[in-house]
Symmetry: C2
Subunit: 335 residues, 2 copies
Amino acid sequence: MHRKLNIEKVAEYAGVSTATVSRVLNNYPFVKDETRRKVLQVIRETNYQVNAVARNLRRKKTHSIGVIISNVLSSFYSVIAKAVEDAAIRNKFSTVLCNGGDSPEKELSYLKVLHENRVDGIILSPTGKNRDYLSFLISSGIPITLVDRTVKGLQCDTVLVNNREASREVVRYMLRQGYRNIGFIAGPQDRLTGIERLQGYYDAHENEGVPVHEGLVKMGDFLIESGKARAIELLENGRLDALYVSNSDMATGAYVAIKEKGLRIPEDIGFAMFDDPDWASLVTPGVSAVRQPVYTLGSTAADLLVKRIVDGSGAIDKEPVKIVLEARFIKRGSV
Amino acid sequence: MHRKLNIEKVAEYAGVSTATVSRVLNNYPFVKDETRRKVLQVIRETNYQVNAVARNLRRKKTHSIGVIISNVLSSFYSVIAKAVEDAAIRNKFSTVLCNGGDSPEKELSYLKVLHENRVDGIILSPTGKNRDYLSFLISSGIPITLVDRTVKGLQCDTVLVNNREASREVVRYMLRQGYRNIGFIAGPQDRLTGIERLQGYYDAHENEGVPVHEGLVKMGDFLIESGKARAIELLENGRLDALYVSNSDMATGAYVAIKEKGLRIPEDIGFAMFDDPDWASLVTPGVSAVRQPVYTLGSTAADLLVKRIVDGSGAIDKEPVKIVLEARFIKRGSV
DNA sequence: TTGAAAGCGCTAACAA
DNA sequence: TTGTTAGCGCTTTCAA
């Protein structure tokens, strides 16, 4: 049991100085081959792993990035988390994952933890609050990249999806197919995604000159149960000829409600959703859906952040970049 | 922009020594109230956050734990990840999440990264390989807790689910309901979970004295597509009167296959699965399913690990603990 | 109740 | 090509 195996011991065993061991560890080129071999052998024999804590202190870099998302259990954010981690590893960074649960207080407390741990940068799907602290972090040299949502007035790199346009396209398609009473289950209106997808629904109606009838829009919370409940309410509306749901979890609930009512898709009712979960293409007919480039969203954010970190362009030396990715409407048979 | 705000600056601003600032930071009781107030004010005004890297180096503790799971995208492992993170936060630990992708090489490389970063402990859903390195880590003082799977010959805390017994219970119930040709879609046979769930299927048949007919057992890979494909193969077997699928992803595919064939559950075919995803209780009739205590699996593992860390009982001073949690068979209407 | 100072393990400037 | 050494920011003895 080597309770304290450090660079000094390794140096001692190899009969060299700690500086030389350090050079070998960091692939510094001007080390005599024989010396290098000797050191590497000791490292191998002892299973020595450099102490990254000490190295990080000295280098003032941790080669780690923090990720704050609302919840890894969500099908959306788990993909973001995976994408970020993959990108991080590709660049030899490690990730610290935090589930902020859409709570501004948790968000703040995680931001502080990440700051304490001197992560080199942060990827955040923000609640929209804590602008001052975020801006303090940026000004003290920790770059931040926002994902999927924004913080009003915060200057930093951001990666978004064109929610509004994609949503508009779905509804326009449905209207042009002849549907006139399209029920919509919206998401929370305190979030960019919730707001924009609803906006797209209205845009399409306006563009096509079709009025939105009373009671066709229901507010949900992006969770599965609310999808089922709001769908049941809507299905009681005799006029309804189609249903468009603004995320996949609510769509799961809504789909079940339609099936339990014995309605056929698309004969009795048209159906479409924002998001494209596995089951959308597995059922018959397939459900027409908006596929967001979720993985790309995460990996783009990570690449942006890593570039800012390694360029040494820091948090503030370079203009903020805003990238909007295109979601794609996939027509299957449901509408 | 405070490029280098450290304890020294804070001490200077507050007119005290760094030692005193440190005492305040760590809630050391014997500091004069007035001094404490002065220091806290400077901290508040400057937004000072202690440098955890330096603190960790000095204390030789990082208050962080590493988590290696196969993939956060899986509905199973994302819950584990969330449970571990929740438990960690509760104990003021942070987590470093790694997706090992069931690859022994990635597993090893992540173990080394975590070692480098001097995490205080590791939670691992192991591939089964790398026993020597794992055992080296344990002997050098880094406790490891295994989750859901085991590594042959490795002495460490382990948290498992009684896969075999739970699986046996499902099949026994089906047999006693009168089903005689129960198709089974098994998981990979290189994993404890895959092996044990299949074993339970055989156990039940043996106990009930019912022979397993040729071709009723198909090998899948725990993924959605293989569930659909294997189900289609099985449904061609004219004798089949029920289908039992060994995890939820494959069950999703299998369920779709059944529906697309126009079969009714349970009139035309009985259906049950291991795992209990949201949709199992949303469809009609509900699908009878084995609910694993997934969250508990993760939180138990984390609690075990944290206890070993903070007890100072270390990695080897205390006998390894093995905990087997009970999965529960939930009868709905599908079988 | 407070301060001075050593030292955690490493890197990097400088000297040789 | 290698060694000596200062110092990263903190905690913690020891002394006052």
